[in-house]
Amino acid sequence: MTKTCTFTLDGKTIPFEEGETIMEAASAAGVYIPHLCHHPEFKPHGSCKLCTVNIGGRLGAACTNRAADGMKVDSETEALNADRRALTQMLFVEGNHICPSCEKSGNCQLQAVAYHLEMLTPHFTHFYPARDIDASHPDVLIERNRCILCELCVRASRDVDGKNVFGIGGRGIKSRLIVNSASGRLADTNMSVTDRAAEVCPTGAILRKRHGFTVPIGKRLYDHHDIAEVPEAGLKEPRRD
């Protein structure tokens, strides 16, 4: 008989299996830890840092740290949520996230996390970066203004679709989503609208064309639910055609 291992998360006893991360064990137990770059189908990335938790006195990402027997983890603390809120605010001001006219509004994980963390203002000065959109592909749109560099599309295209369509180019604040074609245009790749990479974006950066706003207000993923109540909802957006 396998020994059941447990750790405590905010005082709750969380069982886990050997090799699971804190995030995986928490999710399996129905406990929400805010995150954006984490997706259960893909290898941990550890880049957005929203899932940072206190592990026995040191800070670490819940999505990359393995659970250990007897470990004491704190997540829902005032200080950690303040940090998460600040990180989310930084994501908002680094890009151009105009929720009022964004077709992802109501289905957007970035927006939903911001609501969950009670982010009331952007707080920081907007960068208003000049970013372009790539509308060259007949069925898929890249809206770089909304990219948060989570690399889920990179991972999906590489690990699931086997196409390697996406990558991150540049460094630091100049990092940007790039496309693996000589022209740099999405139209010149073998990307298909049915690819996993086309529907994994947590924000409105990669979109299926001509479907915007076809889901009415009230029927969108987070219209009536906090993201903590439906953490799985945004993992695979329902087809709308």
Binding site: P100, S101, C102, E103, I133, A135, S136, L141, K209, R210, H211, G212, F213, T214, V215, P216, I217, G218, K219
Partner: protein
């Protein structure tokens, strides 16, 4: 016509009086008046001091985003922009004929908006002038004053607007800036339960709308001389009419008539609006001056909005509003048709029509149908026109093969009325200000004329009579000689 008052022949040594901002209108504008030493009026201009830039910054955006984005032009009648853009994009996606459910849902949304916007304007913005007098005590001349003296009138005004907003919420998802209309149709229908809920109040709404018509009609009867003559002038009219000549606020062909009822053009296909209407730019205003091509810049300007629509249509296709239209046109041999204050009367007739139209639509089972969106052969350009609360609204887009907006031209209702509003303030300035020393009450006469048009100057902010009206008297060098601020002795 007073074209000589647009630009004074000799501006030097004239005193400049400024009304800024104009209050109880949507958005920001100002009026400048140039007077000589004897207070004789030499120049009057209505300026729009805002600059929006929507036509520029939607370039490059995916077309399906546009109906949601451009409605942010306005917080009062965003549905107009939402629907006008949708209609233009219907053409782009090849949906020349929507499903009955989609078209009726959009018509219902539009009727809700006509109701709420007209109620807002009449009760909240205009009624203080109309009920208390144009130069009544300024402390009382606002919606709070109306609520104190005529609590039932104010209450019904608030509830009429609320009902219209609810119709919008049911059809668009939100009271302001919803998403209900999409290229080729709508994203939701109305359930039977939702229809039953809205039907619950509609008879009261129709009755109250009829009472509102009575209020303004009785004002015309009781103060006939003032209401007929205040800022009066003749002009051309422009608006949509249905194929059979009926009033249709959502769709139709363009009709233009001159002041005497003569036809300039009729049932014109608005996809080619630019063959009929051009826009002139003047150096002193951010707002363009549209005119009817055949008549030229001098004689081709026109009025749009409730007055133009009710004056021009052959009939109104709802019973009670049609009876009111007949009374309106018959009043004193058609005297209300040229009077700026006739806008208020026509506006209330339209509100009654909207209330009746809402009931008719809510009883139609097509509203609960499931066929919401159609698509056809993709086009690269499309024009959408409808009759917004304030008048004819034109959206024109070109889209590239990659689905991005290449160019846009928006001619909004208030732009169509630009020259007419200038004419109205010139008439009022000559009637009431010329040769007299200025008082707050006299300056309010200028604003009363502007308000009659219900202009949406920007559009999203509004003042509810709280904004400071300030007039400054300057000498030719710009030094302030005298200053008058609303609400201060």
């Amino acid at each position: 016509m007073l074209p000589n008052l647009e630009t004074a022949a000799h501006a030097a040594n004239l005193r400049r009086v400024v009304i800024e901002p104009v209050s109880r209108v949507e958005g920001h504008g100002k009026v400048t008046i140039l007077l000589d030493a004897h207070n004789k009026v030499h120049q009057v201009r209505l300026h729009i001091v805002e600059f929006r830039g929507f036509e520029k910054f939607i370039q490059g955006r995916p077309y399906w985003e546009v109906p949601v984005m451009v409605q942010r032009l306005c917080g009062i009648c965003p549905v107009s922009h939402h629907l006008a853009a949708s209609k233009a994009l219907d053409i782009i996606v090849g949906a020349r004929q929507l499903t009955p459910t989609a078209e009726k849902l959009r018509r219902l949304m539009h009727m809700g908006q006509i109701l709420q916007s007209h109620a807002l304007h009449f009760f909240h913005l205009a009624s203080p002038d109309l009920l208390f007098g144009f130069d009544a005590d300024v402390a009382k001349r606002n919606i709070v004053g109306v609520a104190a003296v005529e609590p039932e009138v104010a209450r019904k005004g608030v509830l009429l607007r609320k009902y219209g907003q609810e119709v919008i919420r049911y059809t668009a998802g939100k009271r302001v800036h919803g998403t209900g209309s999409v290229p080729g149709g709508v994203n939701k229908n109305l359930s039977r339960a939702e229809r039953v809920e809205l039907l619950g109040e509609i008879d009261t709404i129709i009755d109250w709308s009829k009472e509102a018509v009575d209020i303004i009609r009785n004002l015309f009867i009781d103060h006939a001389t003032l209401y007929k003559s205040f800022g009066r002038f003749d002009s051309n009219f422009l608006g949509l009419v249905r194929a059979d000549g009926a009033l249709d606020l959502y769709h139709g062909g363009l009709r233009a008539t001159d002041g005497q009822g003569g036809t300039i053009f009729d049932h014109a296909d608005y996809q080619n609006y630019y063959e009929y209407i051009h826009e002139e730019v003047k150096p002193w205003s951010y707002m363009k001056f549209p005119f009817i091509v055949d008549k030229g810049t001098e004689a081709g300007w026109y009025r749009v909005g409730p007055l133009a629509r009710v004056a021009q249509c052959d009939f109104i296709p709802t019973e009670r509003a049609e009876a009111e239209r007949i009374a309106f046109k018959a009043f004193d041999g058609g005297a209300a048709l040229s009077a700026p204050l006739g806008y208020h009367w026509a506006r209330m007739i339209e509100m009654l029509h909207a209330a009746e139209g809402i009931k008719e639509l809510l009883l139609d089972n097509d509203l609960s149908g499931g066929d919401l969106i159609v698509r056809g052969e993709r086009q690269l350009r499309g024009v959408g026109v409808l009759e917004a609360p304030r008048g004819t609204l034109i959206h024109h887009y070109r889209v590239n093969e990659d689905d991005q907006i290449v160019s846009a031209n928006l001619i909004v209702s208030t732009t169509n009325n630009n020259q007419a509003m200038n004419e109205a303030v010139r008439q009022v300035a000559m009637q009431y200000l010329d040769g007299r020393s200025l008082t707050e009450g006299l300056l309010n006469h200028i604003e009363v004329a502007i308000r009659a048009f219900d202009p949406c100057l920007s559009c999203a902010t509004h003042a509810l009579g709280k904004m400071p009206l300030e007039a400054e008297l300057m000498d030719a060098d710009g030094a302030v000689i005298d200053r008058l601020v609303k609400g201060q002795a």
